[in-house]
């Protein structure tokens, strides 16, 4: 299968770009915002101000490119734990993301105008659910779509296959985005599957499958935009395989030196999605170092304000343990609630 690509490894356009100048700039800013969040989140984690954090460095384009095609109050996003970049671009406030990775319940829910389901921890369980969310849009007479992300390891789960099958049978408006980032913690892709391309699996479900350079924002955005348009027209789901690489560890607790070489990581860092997009803009004369410095400053200001906001959130109370289990507290929860309140 051909890989959709618009930028070469250094970011030079290989052909006419399908995005406007405004879109290219918007896309670059979104990439930088995601990278900034990721870098600063890791610092917070090292300071003990964040819990276990799964970084996404290197995968910004694969996530941002899809999220830029979606409307938070209309479409739906069902991300795995590594998709903070998609969540951020989709419209989740930074402060909520910080709280979420602090394991603070104040950050678990999305605001009412953001149709994002809290990050999924079990692997691929959200695929059948996303098929249901997508199908519901059609039953409700809406042209909204659902987008769901997993990694290459997730394609080995039964729910990946059941979800794709349901989505294809019902023609659900769904984007299944697989970030093939080379590793499922320490297990490399070639030990995960015998197929060469995950997107080939789409054929087994009678739906389109696309392979895209996941470190090329222009390519991801254009592929996702087409899949969203197809879905809105009622033409069903698309499987997108974004070829990318997890430059960072699996989580802040992982030591990737146990299972992979520094050379491999360095090779991929030379294809960094942000460097490529920046070079693209510079090549087209749309960007300057002065604008870069200005952007960095603005992003830092935004992040610090969000940290401050998150810090002001009240610590969860012990009795919140039994809240929101049922719509109405049942006798057992009520008894526990009373007990926990008495303890403090």
């Amino acid at each position: 299968m051909d890989t959709v690509q618009y930028l070469d490894d250094q970011g030079k356009p290989l052909q006419d770009l399908p995005l406007s100048q405004e879109e290219l700039l918007l896309g670059y800013r979104a990439l930088r915002r995601a990278r900034h969040f990721d870098e600063r989140a890791l610092v917070l984690q090292r300071q003990g101000r964040l819990g276990v954090y799964p970084p996404f460095r290197g995968q910004e384009a694969a996530q941002v490119g899809v999220a830029l095609c979606l409307q938070a109050d209309h479409d739906w996003l069902l991300p795995s734990y590594r998709e903070s970049a998609a969540a951020l671009t989709f419209g989740m406030p930074i402060s909520r993301l910080i709280l979420s990775w602090r394991a603070d319940p104040a950050g678990w829910g999305a605001p009412p105008n953001v149709n994002m389901v809290q990050f999924y921890i079990p692997i691929a369980t959200q695929i059948p659910q996303a098929a249901g969310v997508a199908h519901a849009q059609r039953l409700l007479g809406k042209d909204a779509v659902a987008a769901v992300f997993i990694g290459d390891g997730g394609t080995s789960e039964g729910d990946f296959h059941e979800g794709l099958n349901f989505a294809s049978v019902f023609g659900a408006p769904l984007l299944v985005v697989v970030q093939n980032n080379g590793w499922a913690i320490s297990v490399p892709t070639h030990k995960q599957m015998k197929v060469k391309r995950i997107a080939q699996r789409a054929q087994g479900y009678g739906i389109p499958g696309v392979v895209v350079d996941g470190n090329d924002l222009v390519a991801v955005w254009s592929v996702a935009r087409e899949a969203v348009a197809r879905a809105r027209r009622g033409e069903g789901p698309t499987l997108i395989e974004a070829l990318t690489y997890r430059v960072a560890p699996h989580t802040s607790s992982d030591d990737p030196s146990r299972y992979r070489t520094e050379e491999e990581t360095a090779r991929w860092q030379q294809r960094d999605p942000i460097m490529r997009m920046k070079n693209c803009l510079l090549h087209l004369g749309l960007w300057s170092e002065a604008q870069e410095a200005e952007l960095t400053e603005a992003l830092e200001g935004e992040f610090l304000a969000a940290v401050e906001e998150a810090d002001q959130a009240q610590e969860p109370k012990p009795w919140e343990i039994v809240e929101q289990v049922y719509a109405e507290m049942q006798p057992d929860q009520k008894a526990a609630w009373n007990y926990l309140r008495g303890e403090v």
């Binding site: 369980t125 059948p128 199908h135 409700l140 349901f166 006798p331």
Partner: protein, 332 residues
């Protein structure tokens, strides 16, 4: 109010069919789906005629995949519909346990109320009708152990109809287990029209003072039979149908124990870790002072439900075994 209504004699499947019909008619958000529920009307005919009446958008067949069915339903529910999924047999729920444990029960909690799952999962359960392997399982204890779900097991057509309509109205996920033995095995007067019966209440189906039999679903019939036999010898047993396992109506249970001083818990799942163990533990914790004898359980043996039908009656509790247990608590 319900008592004043016109009634018709229905069996359990007919009552469930009527409830589904009324729910689809009343609320356009209700959708019905599962394997064979559409054209065929369900393997037990619970959804008979409903696809013809409401169309393929509201009542539809799905691929044969239990995790897919439950996961798909969770998605439909999050997006604002009221899904009612059928799993063909409760013993086929196991492939969906990841969806059930990881999401169905805890979506409200893990999203702090942003998304809830007002979904009903109906599944036939239990033995007594000589089904093949896996078709007679009673997995209610596994389901009751999932935080955030409710578990309802009706034992009569009137109760089945009202409880199912209540389950569909409920804002949280409800497992609705239907005893296969009772589908066509019981008939009763069922009120016409739409009505709901509250979840979370046990009911005394036969009053007595000698000992309390706590049971649900297919075991209610067995316990009533045992109580009839005992009554011929002047021993009046109280039969309590738990009906909703989660949330459990302990008040009614304790009141009965207070009255009789003796408790026998009857369930057809295997004994160890079964739901009857929970009932016994609650009584021991909260109502020990009323007891005049140790609590006795009558349950399936700690083995898979026998796939060889000739001996299933030795596995599934019957009136004889219930009466042996009664003898034990009376002579302690």
């Amino acid at each position: 109010m319900i008592a004043e209504r016109q009634t018709r004699v229905l069996n359990n499947v007919q009552a469930i069919n009527e409830a589904l019909d009324l729910a689809l008619e009343r609320d356009p958000r209700v959708v019905l789906f599962g394997e064979d529920v559409g054209v065929m009307g369900g393997v037990f005919r619970a959804s008979d005629g409903l696809q013809q009446k409401y169309g393929e958008q509201r009542v539809f067949d799905t691929p044969l995949a239990e995790s897919g069915i439950v996961g798909f339903g969770i998605g439909l529910a999050m997006a604002g519909l009221r899904p009612v999924a059928e799993i063909q047999f409760a013993g086929f729920l196991y492939p969906a346990l990841d969806q059930i444990l990881s999401h169905l029960g805890r979506m409200r909690h893990r999203t702090r109320g942003r998304f809830s799952i007002p979904m009903v999962i109906r599944a036939p359960y239990g033995g007594g009708v000589k089904t093949p392997e896996q078709h007679a399982d009673s997995p209610e204890a596994i389901l009751a152990h999932v935080p955030g779900v409710k578990v309802v097991i009706p034992s009569s057509p009137e109760r089945a109809k009202g409880l199912l309509l209540a389950a569909i109205e409920d804002p949280d996920p409800v497992f609705f287990l239907e005893a296969i033995k009772l589908y066509r095995g019981v008939k009763a007067e069922v009120p016409e029209g739409y009505y709901t019966l509250p979840l979370g209440r046990a009911r005394v189906v036969r009053e007595g003072d000698a000992a309390s039999l706590f049971c649900y679903g297919g075991m209610v019939e067995v316990c009533q039979k045992a109580a009839e036999v005992a009554a011929r010898e002047g021993v009046e047993l109280e039969v309590v149908d738990l009906e909703t396992l989660v949330p459990l109506d302990t008040e009614t249970i304790f009141a009965s124990v207070q009255k009789t001083g003796r408790a026998v818990v009857v369930y057809e799942a295997m004994r160890t870790g079964g739901f009857g163990a929970e009932v016994a533990a609650r009584i021991a914790e909260e109502a020990l002072d009323y007891l005049q004898a140790p609590i006795v359980r009558v349950a399936g043996w700690d083995a898979p439900y026998p796939p060889f039908s000739a001996v299933e009656n030795y596995y599934r509790p019957d009136a004889r075994r219930v009466l042996e247990a009664v003898q034990k608590v009376l002579t302690h």
